[in-house]
């Protein structure tokens, strides 16, 4: 099922590539949108790739005068090449880009903008303000705050929690600072914060060590669903399932399913949807097919997934 989707995506890109040249000449109204995103190296990016392909397939059918060119890059240098190729050989009218890194991508994206194209930047900002027409991103501060507020509201005074951090980045810092700020004024104590690097195995190891170190833990902020899986496994190996609950983040389908089923160990989750790429592509497409204003900043809030609303966050076909 998943494989077939990927094939469809690949086939789509190939047919696009083949038809672009002829189609442009025949129909003056044809608009081409380039989409440049990092390749699927971990769960979240896998989900993002899936949503990008899914959205492109759908929009291609809905708007016959729109063409899409999708490129995925494993590093910043490759992404710069992709964007230059799109400009040189595909003659794009709009660009949707999720920069691999801010600094190296700023100049190439600025060149696209200077050529008079519509530029949408997704999730990671460029290092210079005012280049993009449209900015679509998740809200890292809200991601930490929503989780922090849940801990504050659902733990008794004197409760003790542990935190797993991601890969050391500004993004991770923003989340953790907002989390700590939301907990201020409560009697909840953060025992420890170590890096689990958004990785199942690392999170498993860190959690095992937390469990050896602290006899009393009431809750865990795993801050990411991949880490939550490792954490849950470590807790269950230590037979301490009944002592603590775990909050992950980002809305992985397996975790959302367990929330839907009312799992006591996973009461809620906080979204940071990989589908934000869909919002960006849709809005860019609307810019070309409608008169609706599409410039500005669009920040996607982080919502709390509860057993009651979990169904609307559940994408069984997505790899994430």
């Amino acid at each position: 099922m998943k494989r077939r989707n990927l094939m469809k995506g690949a086939a789509l890109i190939m047919t696009l590539g083949m038809t672009v040249g002829g189609a442009v000449a025949q129909e003056a109204e044809k608009k081409i949108i380039g989409v440049s995103i990092p390749s699927a190296t971990h769960g979240f990016m896998g989900g993002l790739n899936w949503h990008a392909q899914d959205t492109i397939a759908r929009l291609g059918k809905a708007y016959p005068n729109l063409e899409f060119v999708l490129a995925t890059a494993g590093d910043a240098a490759k992404q710069v090449n992709d964007i230059e190729d799109m400009m040189a050989t595909r003659n794009i009218d709009g660009l949707v880009v999720l920069p691999f890194e801010s600094e190296p991508l700023t100049a190439p994206v600025k060149a696209v903008k200077d050529a008079g194209k519509f530029v949408t930047v997704v999730d990671r900002g460029l290092s210079e303000d005012g280049i993009e027409d449209l900015y679509v991103a998740g809200d890292n501060t809200a991601f930490g705050r929503v989780a922090g507020e849940y801990f504050k509201g659902n733990l008794a005074a004197g409760s003790k929690i542990v935190v797993l951090r991601g890969i050391p980045t500004t993004l991770d810092n923003e989340r953790v600072e907002a989390f700590q700020k939301a907990l201020e004024g409560s009697d909840v104590e953060i025992l420890d914060m170590q890096h689990g690097n958004w990785n199942r195995d690392d999170a498993f190891t860190v959690m095992q060590d937390y469990l050896s170190k602290y006899p009393k833990i009431d809750a865990v902020w795993a801050a990411d669903d991949d880490m939550a899986i490792g954490v849950l496994e470590a807790i269950s190996a230590a037979n301490r399932n009944d002592e603590m609950w775990v909050i992950g983040g980002a809305g992985m389908k397996e975790i959302v399913k367990r929330i839907m089923d009312g799992d006591k160990q996973l009461p809620v989750n906080v979204t940071y949807p990989p589908a934000l790429i869909s919002s960006a592509i849709e809005m860019t497409a609307l810019n070309f097919v409608s008169k609706a204003p599409m410039t500005g900043r669009f920040i996607i809030g982080s919502q709390l997934i509860t057993p009651e609303n979990a169904e609307q966050f559940y994408y069984p076909d997505s790899p994430f």
Binding site: H42, M45, G47, D192, N199, D201, K213, I229, P319
Partner: protein
């Protein structure tokens, strides 16, 4: 005899020092649960590092083991999930998955070895290539996401990692058996002596009627087998594999081998030293998590310093010996 002791003592001294440090910093360090954790999580890298000892001793290198482990875990999971409807959730399905992992490991190791010995390409280049290939293949198989074992199978398979005789779980037992057999092979078997002979001087080994290519090929096949075995024990832990499984395992395994006193240029292999090296690496991680010694940002730096120190300690002693 006494000199030999001094020469080889380095890694053991470092290990004992770490154990004492850990016990002083946190009382739960020596609790059986923590010891089980540390030994069990050392088992994957440990078994791979034992195989790596033979490859390096014969003058080779294998950078692909981490990616190979991720790929084999992915293939084994796919095989078990595919067999579930026809075979059902029983040990037959799981044994099938284990066989897939082991045969996959043997074939992947053979592929590396054949490219190195038959096509005569540098081991560094061959395994750098296969490292990228295996890593991409598992990402592709998982469609960029994560491959997960069906939950019925997972429940059944789980005790292979978590179960055992009390505190001594299966990964610890397997690791111990692999280490003992490895040590015996290196010291007392003809294969081990041939491996050392090739590593110290390949031409002389050839003149001594050793089938150099065959022995070299066998070191990679042996390493592949041990990667497969590590995967058999890894899959039940989290029941999943993704593009981020086993990242940097190859460097950890190589580091453990070198800390243990095997020469990177080949010629002398010390399997028990490798085991000590693996334990040192796991203990550093464990101690840094258990004690709030430094900012977690600096964990990598502490590891680096201890790795270099462990080797320096041992090299100084060996140069002193030679004088």
């Amino acid at each position: 005899m006494k000199r030999l002791d001094l020469h080889t003592l380095g890694p053991i001294v470092a290990l004992i020092a770490l154990v004492i440090l850990g016990a002083m910093l946190n009382s739960s360090f020596l609790a059986p649960a923590n010891i089980t954790n540390v030994l069990a999580r050392s088992a994957f890298i440990g078994m791979i590092a034992v195989g790596m000892t033979f490859v390096i001793t014969a003058g080779g290198l294998d950078l692909s083991v981490g990616s190979m482990a991720a790929f084999l875990a992915g293939v084994a999971i796919i095989a078990m999930n595919a067999a579930l409807p026809s075979l059902g959730a029983n040990w037959g399905t799981i044994i099938l998955g284990m066989i897939v992992a082991i045969i996959g490991g043997l074939s992947a190791g053979w592929l590396n070895g054949a490219l190195i010995t038959k096509a005569r390409i540098e081991p560094f280049i061959v395994t750098l290539g296969t490292m990228g290939i295996f890593r991409s293949l598992v990402t592709w198989l998982a469609d960029g996401g994560t491959l997960s074992l069906q939950s019925e199978l997972r429940t059944l398979y789980r005790p292979v990692y978590y179960g055992g005789f009390g505190w001594i779980t299966w990964p610890i037992i397997t690791f111990a058996v692999v280490a003992i057999i490895g040590e015996w092979m290196m010291r007392h078997s003809r294969f081990g002596r041939h491996v050392e002979a090739i590593g110290s001087n390949e031409r002389v080994a050839r003149y001594s009627a050793i089938d150099v290519n065959r022995v070299k090929l066998m070191t990679y096949v042996l390493l592949g087998l041990l990667v497969g075995l590590a995967v058999v024990l890894y899959v039940p832990r989290l029941g999943s594999a993704s593009g981020s499984t086993g990242v940097l395992w190859e460097l950890e395994a190589i580091a453990a081998v070198i800390i243990g006193g095997t020469a990177l240029k080949g010629g002398t292999g010390r399997v028990w030293g490798t085991v000590v090296g693996v334990l040192i690496l796991s203990l550093i991680d464990n101690i840094l998590n258990l004690a709030d010694l430094v900012s977690p940002y600096l964990n990598g730096a502490i590891q680096g310093v201890i790795i270099v120190l462990a080797v320096v300690l041992q090299r100084e002693k060996s140069t002193a010996d030679e004088r």
